[in-house]
Amino acid sequence: MADISANFLGIKSPNPFWLASAPPTDKQINVLRAFEAGWGGVVWKTLGSQVKNVSSRYSAVDYNGRRVMGFNNIELISDRPLDINLKEIKECVRLFPDRAMIVSLMADNDRNSWHELIKKVEDTGAHGLELNFGCPHGMTERGMGAAVGQDPDIARKVVEWVMEAATIPVITKLTPNVHSVVPTGRAAVEAGTHALSLINTIQSVTGVDLDTFVPNPNVGGKSTFGGYCGPAVKPIALKMLTTIGQDRVTSAVPVSGIGGIETWKDAVEFMLLGATTLQVCTAAMKYGFRIIEDMCDGLNNWMNEKGFQTIDEFIGRSLSTLTNWEELDMNFHIVAHINQDKCIHCGLCYIGCEDGSHQAINLSYGNPYNTYSIKEDECVGCNLCQLVCPVDNCITMTEQRKGDEYLNWKEFQRRGLPLNDH
């Protein structure tokens, strides 16, 4: 039996799965239900300056009949009175002392506001603070949220204010609405933040209603850019997470990973690229808190299968395998192979390769089933056919090295080796 508990800056939780700062964590009734379901911790929905929310608030991107591949929202921070939030946080900590209670904060842009807010929150007994430098809608118009996270100098200043007052661990949450998360991450670390979390949501328009001509979500005939999240953003989050884990400065602090995590497999991928804890929102909004059961169970089974006792044994393990393109081995070469016994003759590999890639698949007409085979000499080993094939392990990529030695692009050029001739 593997140990799936997490220790993040001394904040312990029975599993690494926290609910991200969002509607599922905005009041006692939800949070208690989440803890009862088994969640390891929560990041309480952002507290700060007074706001009021609009209706509607959410919209989604569906794909091939599956709902909510991507999700966006234009909801602001908590619009409930601060004292009620604080009272409820205190109660939740009392009832579930073994779970992580992090409170997300976004104070007005002055030192006193931050200091006052931190003092009040610490009085609840919460275990940590998360600074919301990421919210990409609404709050940015007031110079808050992503407006802070997009400017390393402002972020550094705010973190410095926070660190003057905070006596519990501080996590700075980064916005992805930048060309790189590293500059703001470095600024926050240099200003003393204990940890980073990423990503917040991505500015987006999920679609336009083709009857009303108004983009989603529709608020009385108008819309506004919303924050994009859900499974669609996972690849972007993983990339940004990697850059934090590979940077000399930011890699010094632990990271809480966020962005489209829905299953234990998603979670493990985030952990392999450096995340210690995982934050989930969209999946819980779509399916409810019960998804935690398989997340814990699947993680445990995977760790047992791989022989890991604790999560620390594999956190960050894949980071070193992501390199610059120039360091990739040009002698590595793979060629597709179609298993004719498994092939169902759908032709998707053929038309993908023919129209979209390298014309490396033979078509032999049959009625009704055509036969497809690889032209090995033409195959560049791009994976496209394997990716579009609907049958598992029907198309496999087999290694046919061009040479024994490791040969990168710089060396390739230095030797003046020949380029393609067609």
């Binding site: 091939n64 009949g65 599956r66 169902i344 003759h345 049958v391």
Partner: protein, 440 residues
Amino acid sequence: MTIRNNRLTADEYKEQFSDIRPPFETYDAALVEANRCLYCYDAPCTKSCPTGIDVPKFIKQITTENLRGSAYTILVSNIMGGGCAKVCPVEKLCEGACVYNLMEEEAIPIARLQRFATERAIQEQWPLFTRKPSTGKKVAVIGAGPSGLSCAHALSREGVDVTIYEKESKGGGLMTYGIAAYKVTPQFCQEEVDYITSIGGIEIVYNQELGKHISLDTLQKNYDAVYLAFGVGLARQLEIPGEQLHGVVDAISFIYDIRTKGYPAIPVGDQVAVIGMGMTAIDAATQAKRLGAKEVTLVYRRTQQEMSCTEAELNIAKLDGCKIVWLAAPKEIVGEDGKATQLVCNIVKLDVTGAMVATGEIITLAVDMVIKAAGQMPFEELVYSNQLDNNKGKVIIDGNSTTSIQGVFAGGDCVNGGKEVVDAVQAGKDSAKAILQYLF
């Protein structure tokens, strides 16, 4: 044991003859299946459709909510795509070729999706096709069945004025008169005919039979070309003693009566034997059962390997509670007071070459009704009397749908001896192409 009609209540009839393959109730339900489609390249389903409907394309168009485009994709290849969605033996055509079968997964329900895409177009008479201005050319078509309608529509689109002569009082041919009512309703058949003729330039003259009310000579004089699509129709006789007894009917007229007289009017026996194992035999057996027959037995002189109905059809009969006797060749129908009482069959076996060999054993079924569904015969006399080259009554055509008489074309069941509706539609398309080449 008696043969009588009016065995069920109105509600029971309604239930017995309700749609055997109900449509998708909602768009979302259709989307679940449409989204499973892999969108195969050079798709096996399309290649297995006699009319070559671009199946992946029309299914993709359902998923993009382009229902109008989807209906057009179907109907441009098969103007009776709505009806075919209900009556095609898809398990041996498009759905049978679906690549999911090779994954041991359920095939895409192409027919149901096709019905979903075409139903509104037909009900609401979407004007998906436009007719070119009249060219002044006139073509006569014999028979308003699938082949005749398909040919007429294709010709009309090119500006040809078409007159269809139909011996019955309604169009649709076997769709209207020869198919089980739980597959396609007379109302739908009417809507489909109306939809096809809504393009304009097609006039159907009903109750006009070739050789009786009109002659080929006259048509040749009055029209620039003639298309023969009069189908087949005469039930094959068993040539055994007792065929003339009361209670012995042929499946074609049995089904025709169901389609024209209403369910309560159709008499069935308590114990019915149906001879044959084609689609028509199944339609007759299941409908006899659904009309209230106590016991229905399908009698076939060969095995399941040789039967011409599909397994899906056989399953309908089995689920309806019909019994099946394989390897029994009808020998004699025995009667009392002129009424059939027993069907006597030789038990046979098949030798290595597949030929039937008598075993010497006999099986006797107690019956009060025998429905003969041993195939249909071409209209041999009509064909001979018009001096058309033929093969045992089946009109012979060349590669261009042309008969031995210049300007006279033929296609569908009257040529092939009786195939599926979808084959007849394709024959109509092919013939229209040949006629257009001949005319212009």
